[in-house]
Amino acid sequence: METEQFNIRMPKDLVQDLNIISKLLKVNKSEWVKTKLAEEVHEEKNKLLMELSTLYANGMISKEKIEKLVGKGIADEMESIKIIAEKSAKHGLEYGKKLRKLHS
């Protein structure tokens, strides 16, 4: 996996706490921080994107605005999901109605 250096200054107390965790769990301090940070970033990113997509589904934000905020890739994917969710509903309505007539 490609990596990039990211330095942060941390309070001494926090570093000491990390040392305790590292000794007790017998794990590498940096690896443990990396894993925990990845979990938190993943969860927060998903939560924020979910909120953004709710605004988009409700017509409260445009695709262009989403593109400016998070990039074209995510904006395009949200647009696809909205279009297909609407298409699924339309298909269900139209074909379901047809089926009811066929079986009545």
Partner: protein
């Protein structure tokens, strides 16, 4: 009752979603459903785990004699999706049938090439064709939302607003 002539291809995510809210058997009674051998293999892998998905996969496999199961040569490949999904995409192209999936990435990369729907399409289909009441369909959508951790995602919001209008 005779089955509808309409056929659908279902991937693992759609089968899991439908079984998780106990409507897969009803869907199989009304519609003709096809899937691939790779999907069956994926479900067999799930059964090795004694968790929620393992149990759902076991239940789906009990119904497998009622699907059409096919292997499909990958003639046209989409580079952003996995081999299993490429096989489903090619089966959909070959048979000219819609693919039902809850994988948003798969939907995004195939939507211009094949007909594709999210699994809640069956809630609306069963409601409109008289097999489910509106209250039951809304209840099942809430159940699916919780099981799939959809929270307020686009699929949930759009399906809910459509069901409420019926």
């Amino acid at each position: 009752m005779a089955k509808s002539s309409e056929n659908y291809i279902l991937d693992t995510s759609a089968l899991i979603s439908l079984e998780s809210i106990n409507i897969l058997e009803q869907v199989l009674k009304v519609f003709s459903i096809a899937t691939t051998n790779s999907v069956i293999k994926e479900l067999e892998e799930f059964t090795k785990y004694d968790d929620k998905y393992g149990k759902l996969a076991k239940n789906i496999l009990k119904l497998k004699t009622r699907f059409t199961i096919e292997s499909c040569e990958i003639k046209e490949s989409i580079k952003y999706i996995e081999a299993t999904d490429n096989e489903l995409y090619n089966l959909s192209l070959k048979k000219e049938l819609p693919l039902v999936t809850d994988e948003t990435k798969l939907v995004h990369h195939t939507r211009h090439k094949i007909e594709v729907y999210f699994s809640p399409v069956f809630l609306i289909l069963l409601l409109k064709s008289g097999y489910l009441s509106k209250e039951k369909a809304l209840e099942l959508l809430e159940e699916l939302r919780n099981i799939r951790n959809w929270r307020n995602n686009i699929i949930y919001l759009i399906t809910k607003s459509q069901l409420e209008m019926l």
